[in-house]
């Protein structure tokens, strides 16, 4: 009998459907391990739930988490009321809230051990598929899907084809996992992975930290893919061991039915920048060196971890950010904030002229630091979207924390000259 790909294995464990119904293109109902909602969409989920299922309980209050991470403390009366609605509903239904300042929900799910490899999790965040970095099937969902899930604990899924992506070769600093992610995005967008799942493999994988893997998987959404998985290994096992959680090692079967295999050579990978107007418009940095930039954001679920901030701090140490550049840093979670305080990265960046904002999302969904202004605010962000007009009328570029720091010093897109070791 033919084996199963990783995603098919996960789905199989969460459905009443028979094994012969587990094949690409088929739709099956699945039982969810965790359902989340945030200050964006959460209030509408509550409204729908109360409208359609008045007086009803949720399917399981211990499997729902509210993770307000989009909007800052009280910068808009509507947001404040939305956030309050979540707290009131959560109290009534005895549901956990990771409130403002805790950080990005998707990151908290693994950082705090709320979900583990093999789980299926949905939430109102189109980058929930970053959880594939830990072998978790995470999916973004809209208001209706989530309200139904609050009530039933169920959703449906169209089983995707799986493409095995082999990363061949290795890279060295100043190239980082963001350059890898951008390069892979460009290749996969051209290859065409709409609605498909990816399984990454190759020798380089075992050298990637959990944060690197999150970065890599975070750009699958921008290629219209469903999810990118890094099969669990020693790195994943160790990560969960630190959280006192035993995990099952999850990989696709050798005789699984992969739609195709695609090899990407990453030897001598350089630095890459996603240029306007799409994330997949990825170019070698050499083509855009010197482009004037006056707004820089280091953050997002793609690159907002302490290790990302550390990369920037190493470049910034002893230098000054150009006075006309606004350099905002939005740590992904409170844990990242603590880490950069303990290792003094925060001090280094503050002394260089950077500004810190509360932990949470950044430019992708407005976030703690979102819209950037008018025609003259040309932005470079470590985030994941640069769609024209998204955060302002001017151009937006995506790059790594290393490039962000070098660009902050020069006031134009630049390569890092050195780093503090």
């Amino acid at each position: 009998m033919e084996g199963f790909t990783l995603i098919e294995k996960i789905i199989r464990k969460h459905t009443d459907a028979a094994d012969e119904d587990i094949y690409p293109g088929n739709i099956v109902w699945i039982n969810l391990d965790i359902v989340t909602a945030r200050d964006y969409a959460g209030p509408q989920v509550i409204d729908l739930f109360q409208k359609y299922y008045p007086g009803s309980k949720t399917f399981d209050n211990n499997k729902i988490i509210f993770t307000p991470d989009c909007y800052p403390y009280g910068n808009d009366p509507k947001h404040v009321k939305d956030q309050e609605k979540i707290r009131v509903f959560a109290k009534e239904h005895d549901i956990k809230v990771t409130d403002l300042g805790s950080g990005i929900g998707s990151h908290l799910l693994f950082r705090r051990g709320f979900s583990k490899p093999g789980d299926i999790v949905i939430g109102a965040d189109s980058h929930y598929n970053i959880l594939g970095a830990l072998g978790i099937l995470g999916q973004g969902a809209g208001d209706v899907t989530l309200a139904f899930a609050f009530k039933t604990g169920k959703s449906w899924i169209k089983i995707p084809e799986t493409v095995k992506v082999i990363l061949e070769g290795k890279y060295t600093w100043p190239t980082t996992s963001k350059d890898l992610a951008l390069y892979v995005l460009k290749q996969l967008h051209e290859y065409g992975i709409t609605g498909k799942a990816i399984e990454f493999c190759g020798d380089v994988i075992s050298e990637l930290t959990i944060e690197d893997r999150v970065t890599l998987c975070s750009l699958i959404t921008e290629a219209s893919g469903m999810i990118g998985f890094v099969p669990t290994d020693e790195v994943t096992t160790e990560y969960y061991k630190q959280r006192n959680i035993d995990i099952e090692v999850l990989t696709g079967d050798e005789n699984a039915n992969y739609a195709s295999e695609f090899t990407i050579n990453i030897d001598n990978l350089g630095l890459y920048v996603a240029c306007p107007p799409h994330p997949h418009n990825v170019k070698p940095i050499e083509e855009v060196l010197g482009t004037p930039i006056n707004s820089i954001i280091l953050g997002s679920c793609t690159n907002g971890s302490a290790s990302d901030i550390h990369e920037a701090a190493r470049v910034l140490k002893g230098s000054q950010i150009k006075p006309e550049v606004r350099f905002g840093i939005v740590p992904a979670t409170r844990e990242d904030f603590v880490e950069i305080n303990l290792n003094k990265d925060m001090t280094i960046i503050l002394e260089a002229g950077g500004n810190f904002f509360g932990a949470g999302c950044s430019t992708c969904a407005k976030g703690q630091y979102g819209l950037t202004g008018g025609e003259t605010a040309v932005t470079l962000t470590t985030g994941n979207r640069n769609t024209q007009g998204k955060i302002g009328p001017a151009d937006v570029y995506l790059a790594s924390p290393v490039v962000a720091a070098a660009t902050a010093i020069e006031g134009k897109i630049a390569k890092p000259k050195m780093r503090d070791d």
Binding site: N26, I27, W29, Y40, A41, Q44, L48, Y52, Y53, F59, D76, K78, H79, D82, A124, D125, S126, Q139, G140, A141, G142, D143, V144, T145, A147, F148, K151, T152, K154, S155, W156, K158, P160, T194, G195, T221, E222, S224, M226, H278, H280, C364, A365, K366, G370, L371, R385, T387, Q388, G389, K390, I391
Partner: protein, 169 residues
């Protein structure tokens, strides 16, 4: 959705990779009322900024590939329901957008070769759900669509996913 044939005039927005920020911009995310969402549809898409103010009642929207990629925002679906589009035909759809639309009762039909199928603005289109066939009645030509999955049809027939949830206790 009571019958198996859906017909309407074509409204073409044949652009690839339309992101949810181009459909309904993130600066408007506090708007949730369908009638208020409606005028903003494609407000951030070059060449279509007045789309929101058009009367599209009963039409079929024709889009390119990867339509609706990007965020999970429900408004990007709600807006087309408010415009009273009967369906959206596209080469392919972002996976989250596909489920958001179906769950809210908006039919999406995938026609992988849509770019090679001649459709002019306001051509009379007809989608035969059972035969998985798209016909351009004005030009008297037809093309195969991807089969619409049975569970999707069940959800559409129930009037959206929320109504199905009432059965669970």
């Amino acid at each position: 959705m009571s019958n198996e044939i859906i017909d309407g005039k074509a409204r073409k927005v044949l652009v690839d990779d339309i992101d949810t920020d181009q459909i309904f911009h993130q600066s408007l995310l506090t708007i949730h009322d369908p009638e208020e969402i409606k005028p903003h549809i494609f407000g951030n898409l070059d060449g279509y900024r007045n789309f929101g103010k058009e009367d599209n009642t009963g039409k079929i929207l024709v889009v390119g590939k990867n339509f609706g990629k990007g965020s999970t925002r429900q408004q990007a679906v709600t807006g087309f329901l408010a415009h009273k589009f009967k369906a959206i035909i596209g080469a392919s759809f972002g996976p989250i957008y596909y489920s958001n639309a179906v769950n809210a009762g908006l039919l999406l039909v995938e026609v992988p070769e849509i770019a090679n199928f001649s459709i002019e603005e306001n051509d009379e289109l007809e989608i035969d759900i059972t035969q998985s066939l798209l016909t351009n009645k004005t030009q008297e030509i037809n093309i195969k669509c991807e089969k619409i999955p049975i569970p999707v049809l069940d959800i559409m027939k129930a009037g959206g996913l929320m109504s199905l949830g009432e059965k669970f206790e």
